[in-house]
Assembly symmetry: C2
Homo-oligomer: 470 residues x 2
């Protein structure tokens, strides 16, 4: 060990204690690699500060020693945003110990939380108070608020409640120079300058470390109605989606879709699932209405709206969940899409989006293009009809174990199609280190330059999560 | 006229034509001064470009001649944000000619508009298509989309739909160097880098000129229910507000408040108003529910929720609007608050906010402090209970025509109270040139420095609306 790193080491240990500065190989592996084990150079160590002041002290100490910092929440990201990149001489800063739910205000409809609070723990804590925080996604059992903010998480309810940036009222952030910006205000309206609170949402830790947030809450749902429909096409799903938004208006909380290919994979590999309808897809639409009004007859509202769709001949088959068990079963089908595909073997994931009105034509174009690159490739698009976000995932042709070296060409075909449909190469997973080159390719030089200017203005030495986003 | 300005003049006229480059005294006055005639140094001229390319050309030409640019929408701002500041050698760039509603997509629920589209014109155009853009504020007959974006406008429906930044999906912006950033994407989820679309919301033209936007739409309301309540205190209004949010949940679109003082001034000065309830305030709460579901019995839902409030003894008096005329009459009382006070004579306006749960205690503390500065000062707070935004306005003591030189002390007392209640010195009107010193005083050096860094990184020569925000 060089004199330098020994000195840095000693100071970090003195600052954070044995429990706050980890150097064991198991910990370097656990925190240092992303959960899909695709990204992450070995860090110098893992800092686990217990307070904002300690985070600031770590940032200053790292700066003095020329060490970079990659902030990490639940380490559930898919693009390597919370682990080190190639050539980094840096540490991981885990917010896991800062997991206090500071306060909940039922008049304000706000919660103040430390960055390390796990999303599912927040959900559970609010339930008793008849309040909810309406962000829902697959990783909610591990994902932390700070990471969700830094990646501007979306999930299945974004069509109604927005993304993380729409749910954050205030933030406390430790800046690259170690200063603490205290913007943790519980204000819906605060136009005293640039909307910094929004800038840090989705910055992936490249502009500072989110340590605390004030979040918007909503009344807890007292009623739900959930339907699963089998449809002839994604175009039909789009039409029904717009129709339901008008007919069931304020209540529509989620509109999720998947296909027969995805359903078959899930039924094949994941235990405890059953085919939900007599008729097979090819496309399935999961619709959920929620309300905080106890006496509201949501099932009736959903049934009336769907009856009109049946009359118009656009629905092949469908069912409204008769009870909580059936509701959970419908949702589980959607949620097990990634697991079903993973267990099938090799896969390529793409988190893309198109305008809602162009979703079906994007999926058709991308499918044609992928088929041209690798005939027989199994195309498994699923995701969020309400906001245009598709997880456009691929499995090799039946009977083959890999993509025959066509991975890059397949991805290119899909990103090309997304951009040709005025869509995006990253909808809700961010850029991390995986997609920086894609952003440089598909976004204008003007846009990339704007981002680099902002990055340089706040972090001139490029110490905060280098190589991510810009 | 110097050779320089003659040259600049000629080039501007050549670029924009007679109708696009105005130099007449009447026009310099009309565009050059804010609508309350409190701010605005005389500009060199008024540029009225007809396209984004022309805006970019103006920006480049102004840069070559060392001329600053103040972008202007409907010129309805209250803080001098869209006119020149002291010492500026600049032009006004009006977006008024760029007023095309480019497209509306009923599947996407989006509208693409040029910056100069007037808000009320957008409302009218969407009505036929059973769609709505849910931003509502007093100036909607003049305010333009670009200005509303640049000031991150709020208004009376922000509690449900958010502020302008929550309603903007994509933007096209002419940057300080004349480059055009085309971020006018119709995507709810787009995490391919920093959320630039949000940064330009509320930047007041200091980082660039918004030329085009993609806005989120919603299904048009098919049903409304509106109640006006007389209450014993603002604290009661707060409690009822939280209760209604839980009981009438998704439907609550606006909760506005005013006081007996404001009502009396409006009744005294504004024609066509009548006292709405048998019992007088002292506090009035206007509640509106809206729904896009045609058959929804909103009046019943509102009545049931209010009945519970009456039972709890918290409501003094109240009425649900029986028809559109009565609904409009209720709203007009709230909307004429500024006019009633203006016609009474001298006034001081403050656009502040506190967390919703601290609104009543803020108003009480600010009132006590103002009374201490000038005994008998008439305190007329009104605004948005649902989001904590108070227009805390003052009239001189009865029988006096001015504030006896205490204006600055009164304002200081009110801003001090807002900040002491974790509130803000500017809720929805921005900083403009009027409130920059206030922001420097009440916000941390760290926060102000962050904003200055961003400004400098995008506009190093300080040519875009200098002296505003930072």
């Amino acid at each position: 060990m060089s004199e330098f790193s020994s000195n840095f080491d000693q100071r970090m240990r003195a600052l954070l204690g044995e429990n706050g500065w980890l150097k064991g190989q198991a910990e370097l592996d656990a925190y240092g690699r992303d959960w899909l084990k695709r990204y992450g150079e070995t860090p110098i160590g893992i800092a686990r500060p217990g307070s904002t002041a300690e985070v600031a002290a770590v940032v200053r100490l790292a700066a003095q020693h020329g060490v970079t910092i990659s902030p990490q929440g639940g380490n559930t990201g898919l693009n390597g945003g919370s682990v080190l990149g190639a050539g980094d001489r840096g540490i991981i800063l885990s917010l896991a110990r800062m997991n206090r739910l500071v306060s909940v205000d039922p008049i304000d409809f706000t919660a103040t939380v430390e960055a390390g609070v796990v999303l599912a723990a927040l959900h559970a804590a609010l339930e008793e108070q008849l309040l909810c925080f309406p962000l829902h996604l697959g990783a909610e059992g591990s994902a932390q608020i700070g990471g969700l903010i830094s990646t501007n998480a979306g999930g299945s309810h974004a069509m109604r409640y927005g993304m993380m940036q729409d749910l954050v009222l205030g933030l406390e952030v430790v800046l690259p120079d170690g200063a603490i910006w205290n913007g943790a205000r519980a204000l819906i309206k605060d136009n005293a300058g640039y909307q910094l609170r929004r800038l840090f949402c989705g910055a992936e830790g490249t502009l500072g470390i989110v340590t605390r947030a004030v979040l918007r809450l909503f009344p807890a749902p007292r009623g739900k109605a959930t339907a699963l429909l089998a449809l002839d096409s994604l175009a039909t799903a789009q039409t029904i989606g717009a129709f339901l938004r008008a007919r069931a208006g304020e209540f529509v909380a989620a509109m999720e879709f998947f296909t027969e290919i995805g359903l078959a994979l899930a039924l094949k590999h994941v235990g405890g699932l059953t085919r939900p309808l007599e008729t097979a897809g090819p496309v399935y639409l999961l619709v959920e209405l929620t309300t905080s009004i106890e006496e509201m007859a949501l099932d009736d509202i959903l049934e009336r709206a769907l009856a009109a769709c049946f009359e118009a001949g656009t629905v092949v088959d469908g069912a409204i969940a008769a009870n909580e068990t059936q509701r959970a079963a419908f949702w589980r089908l959607r949620e097990e899409m990634p697991e079903g595909q993973r267990l099938e073997g090799a896969q390529i994931k793409h988190d893309v989006a198109a305008p809602v009105a162009r979703l079906a034509s994007f999926v058709a174009a991308a499918s044609t293009a992928a088929e041209a690159v690798l005939p027989g490739v199994r195309i498994n698009p699923f995701g969020h009809l309400g906001d245009g976000n598709v997880h456009f995932n691929l499995s090799p042709p039946a009977g083959q174990s890999d993509f025959a070296g066509r991975e890059a060409l397949l991805s290119e075909a899909i990103y090309d199609a997304a951009v040709a449909h005025d869509g995006t190469i990253s909808a809700e997973h961010g850029l991390g280190q995986a997609k920086v080159a894609l952003a440089n390719r598909y976004r204008s030089a003007t846009e990339r330059d704007l981002m680099r200017r902002i990055k340089t203005s706040l972090d001139p030495a490029n110490r905060m999560n280098p190589g991510k986003v810009v």
